[in-house]
Symmetry: C2
Subunit: 693 residues, 2 copies
């Protein structure tokens, strides 16, 4: 088969990407890790992070074994392919393993790089940036490397997209645990540390006297590095797999090459990110934010050029044979997704950047009462849903009609648009992982009492990280939305295939479909609530522990005694993992319950409903959270009364509310809807045949 | 025609109901209105309320004239029926007038009854209850009376449900202005009065020294009496009309009597409420809450009995002819709606009553920080969506399959289920209007310095009012949800009828339908945000005015000078009406834009999307708001530290956030989605023929 070369180049690109990640890792480790004091602090963070990761992966192992057994039993008994059950289970485990591996690598380098970034800041902003960004690329390159390698390998061996679907489900299951767990962990520690440290006893942030300070720094790594990485990994794989499923189901009419094309686009994405990463560089004391954005936009341009060249080359070689060539409509759809994704990332900025009205209005009204801070910020969060959804609709319609105009099924265009948007995953994850590294670096610089200048440089790097993070979030929500729309279409294709050929129509006037949709609307709301209630509950416990330590050892506040950091790390770790059980089980069991009880139509509606409210709440929470965070920073910068004023107190409350909004509940919703879509697609062959209504 | 007797009895019942309302009004006026002081205070509230109502109705007149001209021009040029445009415009104006009339009557009696209730409390709780509840029934009876009279009259004359649709659109347009405007008004005044009065200068609630105190009391009347009444009036009419449209479109296959049956059910509802109202009575110092609930449940039982008797009688007379008799499946669907509506009203209680975990948990965690109060309350609000939507789904499926099992179109069953749920409107509106009357009575008792005992009795009446209000809200959201589901089906029927007979399928896999749905999801979010931002903006202005008065006239706080109440009343009135323009325009224009641009499929999706997020946000906001309110009251009752504690301060912020949630944004969403559904159904004949995509 002609297209096998795409799969082999995927293997090669994957391996090279992982090797490049390991190389970057080695170079990061070679940097100076500073004094004993800074090394000691970094050591606490490192050991806290690995404690949590070990516990997380142990939990995952249990989940994987249970789900693996279920998958192999359920799918072995009834499928035409006798080995299908075992293979799906194996692919599932492999997917989880790949995602875990990349996450572990990213975390390991992050907790080494933080102290080295702080030390490098002694020389200058550019030096600090160099270390942190190189460490970020470890995560970015490892992610895309193992993902592409894994998908290509599985497809090369079994030539069955349903096996690759198992891989994607494995990656998503891990992502759900990592993202939601990390989100609960990080905000438990953050809120508890702030409420007792800053508000009650009045010590500054990142003060080593605070027993929760290490847990707080560990949280940045497990939430923002491991969690966010797993989340984007999961969207990346899911988008590719959804397009592969769609391509495979239309293979008879449009040609078999479209089932594998998404993987070829991933390879082009890896190459583009690779080139783009070389160009991310800050001049002596220049702007780190501009360097990050330049890398992203530049990679986009390279991707567009390479993808065009690829289509031209394939068409030249195929000699006009439609069964071998590539339709230009697909290229247009891909680029439509890419361009709209980038535009949307940047427009998120409007609602969360203090140069615009929303943040300033919230800061100004804070002087009149905390209630008004919350209402106004929440309202702007609601408004911010509008441009983002209009963007998602624009991307959907543009990619659909681009493909349709060229004679292909429009929905395949939506799938590749998601792949196009996510083709930049390598560089986006790198930018994103950079954030918590410089955040930690700032903390370590403060805790190990480096000079004021060094702390200020680390702060400059940190602000750039915050902006990058906001853009990444806007980008990842829209990419996830397109991905689940494609996944939703993939589900429908699988159902039509197994329910006897008739086309499967999701008619909203059908009471079962409508009921399924209404039920689906509930899930993101309840899931958010469960994760946020876990945060408040765990924070409540940790606040008790911090108060207990201050009381039992008065020397802590005086600076003569060391607090017991591990107690807080333990509360955050075990609390987060315990709290995961119910929401994770809901994500897997609810779609199955709806499908087997109310039938495939109701399940289709259920997925649609969860996408609708999932996207709405994800945008609301991420943007409102970002807005409150920056309104607080705006007041702290001396506006509207400045630090210590009534406005500041109100803004701090806004930020506390925004914390679990933007870092726990909001971003977990992407993963939730992906997992539910994957469970549904995976079980679709069974649900199509066995259902009560 | 045999069924004409139903229409004539509707006219009679309507007239009798209005007469009974007028009689109750006269009896309320005959009660003692107390001292000069109490009469003076009541006079301020009355004049403030009528100032606002006059401004509101003037605005409405402009809107009605503009929309009337548009309707008559648009529908005259192209319809087969040459007079259709003028008739629709006339029906529209008539609908708005009827709703305004009932609202005006309800408000007038409320502002007379408040002072009389306070005075009657001197004798005892039962006497106070008697006055307030009788005044409430004025609104309840007037509402159902004019609604049924209007619908029957229009149908008797023109025999065209599309004309009755115009009536419903008129009622809804008024409701949107009255509900959203009243909601903005009441919370502007409430928040401003609290933030300056209670928090800044430390005077108690309802203190006559507060310049915003009269605006606050006026707000209760315009928001909770006129606004909520118009809202339920609108659901009541819309549910009946939607079922009539469905009945008419199936008339060929199931018989013409089903198009008029909803009106017959309304008549039975009036009679049941009438009987039920006689039994609402409090023994000497008994429980007013129990009396209200007993009336509701008792009316339900009577309705069920009367409806069954009615079906049996019609079937006996028809002698087994299916073109004359009534299908028992319809009765089952109606009763399913009724029962589930009542059950849901009471279950809302779980999340907002301080006897259960949610309110107590929020109160307890308040001691650890305001941020946690907000996050926890918001999370419980999210969870509260689940049981309510499960109830709506249960009602939908039960009513659908009850009708289908008896050989009727299932969707007609959903329509009559909504009518069944709303058949109790008479008594529900009475209970609801009782709330603000006793709330005002308490205020007047305090301001005119009546004895402590009287204030306490008024407070007992007020608590019962709050519980009734929570139940009414749960009830009205579920009724509105079922109504819009029926309206959504009615829209589809109209589209199929005018697009050449082919059945109209709303397939979620169609990119236009999907895009429409995603766009529809935005609207309730943005609408809520606009109304809440109006509240914070207007409150900000009013806070400035209150501070200015305190500064300019130091005698106000000393009690030697009167504040200028009218300044605050003016700010609240004009601010609320100005803020309405954009959201009201969006509600009418957006569905038309989507319909004419993206086509009837996209508009169907748009309506569905707005229903999904509309129901979700309405439940979230109403329940979270009620929860925070009661958590504050729980702390004020001496729990978790009691008044003045840190927990109390945090709980007060929660209440401030909850105020616009539960009284401005949340309840307006019902009306928003009804208006959008009606605009779509009304314009469906045109959209089916003219659209860009």
């Amino acid at each position: 088969m002609n297209t096998d070369i795409w799969l082999y180049s995927g293997l090669v690109a994957g391996v090279l990407s992982v090797l490049a990640a390991l190389g970057a890792y080695a170079r990061v480790r070679a940097y100076d890790s500073g004094t004993d004091r800074s090394r000691e602090i970094a050591g606490w963070i490192r050991s806290g992070a690995s404690t949590y990761l070990r516990m997380l992966y142990k939990t995952l192992l249990v989940v994987a074994v249970v789900l693996g057994i279920v998958l192999s039993v359920v799918f072995s008994g009834i499928e035409e392919k006798p080995m299908h059950g075992l293979l799906t289970a194996g692919a599932f485990g492999f997917g989880a393993l790949c995602s875990a591996l990349a996450g572990w690598l990213g975390m390991s380098v992050a907790v080494e790089a933080n102290v080295r970034t702080a030390v490098a800041c002694k020389k200058g902003v550019a030096d600090g940036f160099q270390v942190a960004f190189k460490a970020g690329t470890v995560m970015g390159l490892a992610m895309v490397g193992v993902a592409v390698f894994g998908m290509c390998l599985l497809y090369l061996i079994w030539r069955d997209v349903e096996i690759v679907l198992g891989f994607s489900f494995g990656a998503s299951s891990l992502a759900l645990l990592a993202k939601a767990g990390g989100g609960i962990y990080t905000k438990t520690a953050d809120i508890a540390a702030d409420l007792v440290g800053k508000v009650e006893v009045g010590i500054p942030e990142d003060d080593p006297r605070n027993p929760a300070v290490i847990a707080d720094n560990v949280g940045d790594n497990v939430g923002d590095v491991a969690g966010m990485g797993a989340d984007i990994f999961d969207s990346y794989v899911a988008a590719s797999v959804a397009s592969m499923v769609l391509g495979a189901s239309f293979a008879g009419s449009i040609g078999p090459q479209y089932a594998i094309l998404p993987l070829a686009l991933c390879v082009i994405g890896i190459v583009s990110s690779f080139i783009g990463l070389r160009f991310v560089r800050v001049g002596k004391d220049g702007k780190p934010g501009r360097a990050l954005n330049f890398g992203t936009v530049f990679s986009c341009v390279i991707f567009a050029a390479l993808a065009t060249a690829f289509f031209a080359a394939v068409n030249a070689v195929s000699g006009g044979d439609p069964a071998l060539g590539l339709n230009w409509g697909v290229l247009l759809s891909t680029l439509a997704g890419l361009v709209i994704g980038v535009v949307m990332g940047f427009t998120t900025d409007f609602f969360t950047n203090d140069e615009h009205r929303p943040v300033r209005n919230v800061a100004e009204i804070s002087g009149s009462g905390t209630g008004l801070t919350i209402i106004t910020g929440f309202s702007y969060g609601l408004v911010s849903i509008a441009p983002a959804i209009v963007g998602i609709v624009a991307a959907t319609l543009a990619s659909y009609f681009c493909s349709q105009a060229f004679g292909l099924p429009g929905i395949y265009g939506v799938g590749v648009a998601a792949v196009g948007m996510l083709s930049l995953t390598g560089i986006v994850v790198s930018n994103d992982a950079y954030g918590p590294i410089v955040d930690n670096a700032k903390g370590i610089a403060e805790m190990s009492e480096m000079s004021h200048e060094v702390v200020e440089r680390a702060d400059t790097l940190d602000s750039a990280g915050n902006t990058a993070k906001a853009i990444t979030k806007g980008f990842s929500i829209s990419a996830a939305a397109l991905t689940v729309l494609a996944m939703f279409a993939a589900y429908s294709e699988v159902i039509s295939k197994y329910s006897g050929g008739g086309s499967f129509i999701l008619n909203l006037q059908d009471p079962l479909v409508l009921s399924g949709t209404l039920l689906g609307c509930i899930v993101p709301a309840v899931f958010s609530a469960l994760t946020m209630l876990a945060v408040t509950k765990n924070a409540f416990v940790m606040i008790g522990e911090i108060r207990r330590q201050f009381k039992a050892k008065p020397g802590i506040l005086a600076g003569t005694e060391l607090p017991d950091y591990t107690a807080c790390v333990g509360i955050a770790s075990s609390g987060a993992l315990r709290a995961l059980a119910l929401p994770a089980a809901l994500a897997v069991l609810l779609p199955l319950a709806v499908g087997f009880l109310l039938g495939p139509g109701a399940l289709g509606g259920f997925l649609a409903g969860s996408i609708f409210t999932g996207v709405v709440f994800a945008l609301l929470m991420s943007n409102a959270g970002g807005l409150w965070d920056n309104a607080k920073k705006y007041v702290e910068a001396g506006n509207c009364g400045g630090p210590g004023s009534e406005a500041h107190k109100a803004a701090v409350v806004g930020d506390t509310v925004g914390d679990p909004f933007k870092d726990t509940a909001g971003p977990s919703l992407n993963t939730l809807i992906t997992v539910m879509s994957l469970v549904s697609s995976l079980f679709a062959p069974l649900i199509a045949r066995f259902h009560l209504f």
